[in-house]
């Protein structure tokens, strides 16, 4: 499979099947952290970071440890541990978040300062777990899942920064009292989602 295949997968993950706008994953933090542009950028980068790391790791774990017949390499071909997927994924994500946090603290204090508070939040962000679950369901290869992980993270980043910027402008508009906050954010997300759907014809 050539370069075009991966490029098309990337574009699909970022725009057409955006993890927030088409699959609704990570909505909680998407709505809660989109009040200010700076914080949304911080969270966006943290999601790209963690998703690009956890997707390939979880692929390796499912393929070589958990999948039906995955343990054939140590002589146990009839064992199927796929019901453990969920618990293992959560453990891996929590561990990776913790590791990334310690690593950043040691080697890049500035980045740690800016991502610091968002990293723990990410452990329970559905988009990270969802990314790993999707790559099992869609039977991606190793490179495909890396590309998919990065693309989904980038999609989340674009969506949350777009929403934060619009919400920033909305402060100056005349919104009905009861619609302020969540209601308006929902309607805006609907409109952004519609805009992203315009990409759906693209095929490379």
């Amino acid at each position: 499979m050539g370069f075009e295949h991966y490029l098309s997968l990337l574009i699909k993950a970022v725009f057409i099947e955006n993890i927030v706008l088409a699959y609704f994953l990570g909505m909680c933090s998407f709505l809660a952290i989109s009040k200010q542009v700076e914080t949304s950028i911080g969270l966006g980068f943290a999601v790209i970071f963690v998703l690009s790391i956890t997707a390939p790791i979880n692929w390796l774990i499912t393929t070589y440890l958990l999948k039906d017949g995955a343990l054939a390499w140590i002589g146990l071909p009839e064992i199927n541990l796929s019901y453990l997927n969920l618990i293992v994924f959560i453990a891996v994500i929590a561990a990776v978040v913790q590791l990334v946090e310690m690593f950043l603290d040691r080697f890049s204090p500035t980045l740690y300062q800016s991502l610091g508070i968002y990293l723990p939040l990410i452990a329970v962000n559905c988009s990270i777990l969802g990314g790993s679950l999707f790559l099992v369901e869609r039977k991606y290869t190793f490179i495909e899942s890396s590309v998919f992980g990065f693309g989904s993270g980038l999609g989340f980043f674009l969506a949350i920064v777009a929403l934060a910027s619009i919400r920033h402008r909305m402060k100056y508009s005349n919104v009905p009292e009861q619609l302020k906050g969540v209601g308006m954010a929902m309607l805006l997300t609907g409109l952004i989602s519609m805009a992203f759907m315009a990409f759906s014809g693209i095929d490379i």
């Binding site: 706008l21 088409a22 699959y23 609704f24 994953l25 990570g26 909505m27 909680c28 709505l31 809660a32 019901y83 453990l84 997927n85 969920l86 618990i87 959560i90 929590a94 329970v124 962000n125 559905c126 777990l129 969802g130 679950l133 999707f134 369901e137 009905p176 009861q178 619609l179 969540v182 209601g183 308006m184 954010a185 929902m186 309607l187 997300t189 609907g190 409109l191 989602s193 519609m194 759907m197």
Partner: protein, 208 residues
């Protein structure tokens, strides 16, 4: 209702409208939007969430005195993940088609903020009985919104409710068409946004 004390009653009824987890606390939206294309999906999803929420609340409340506060998140996650794996396996065994349609969203109940949120905010401080009722109430509150969104999306998107045609044939002959947008993701956002608006508008005094 003399069976329940005032506190138990508020644990059960408040989340239905007054402190509804989805529309007012904005928790657990992820799954709420994804499985609302049809009412039957929403019903199964509600059942799964009510089961997980009430059971996890009860278990965590029973062992709350033995959970060290530093590792409580991990312990709560482990209990919830176990329950979710259980319900996922049950769905796969007895309702295979439905579990295919719900795909990853049943597993994603684990990261549903309602479950974690109630475990941490309510079950850790309250006795098992009330925690169970709180889980039930929040589950039903979640379900009410889920089914409301699914109702409108299915009605306008496919012209059916629970798979039964509602809009009569002659209306289509007059030129009525199903609104394709409702089936797609923007429809979910817009319907939920409007529901939140109406809810706040109607219960203005009660809701803060």
């Amino acid at each position: 209702m003399a069976i329940l004390s005032k506190k138990s009653r508020s644990a059960l009824y408040d989340p239905l409208v007054k402190t509804n987890p989805i529309s007012l606390s904005v928790l657990g939206i992820c799954s709420a939007l994804a499985v609302t294309i049809r009412v039957d999906q929403a019903l199964i999803m509600t059942g799964a969430v009510i089961f997980v929420l009430s059971t996890s609340n009860t278990i965590i409340s029973v062992i709350r005195k033995y959970i060290p506060s530093r590792t409580r998140i991990i312990i709560q996650l482990a209990i919830i993940a176990g329950l979710v794996s259980l319900i996922d396996q049950v769905l796969m065994a007895y309702m295979y088609n439905m579990s295919k349609q719900l795909s990853v969203f049943v597993s994603l109940i684990v990261t549903n903020c309602i479950v974690m949120g109630r475990a941490d905010a309510y079950a850790m401080q309250n006795p098992a009985g009330n925690s169970f009722l709180d889980g039930l109430g929040n589950g039903f509150g979640y379900g009410a919104i889920l089914i409301a969104v699914a109702f409108f999306r299915e009605l306008f998107g496919s012209g059916t409710i629970y798979g039964i045609s509602i809009i009569p044939e002659f209306v289509y002959n007059l030129g009525y068409e199903n609104l394709g947008l409702m089936v797609l993701s923007p429809g979910a956002f817009i319907v939920l946004g409007l529901i939140v608006w109406f809810q706040k508008e109607i219960w203005k005094e009660k809701v803060k």
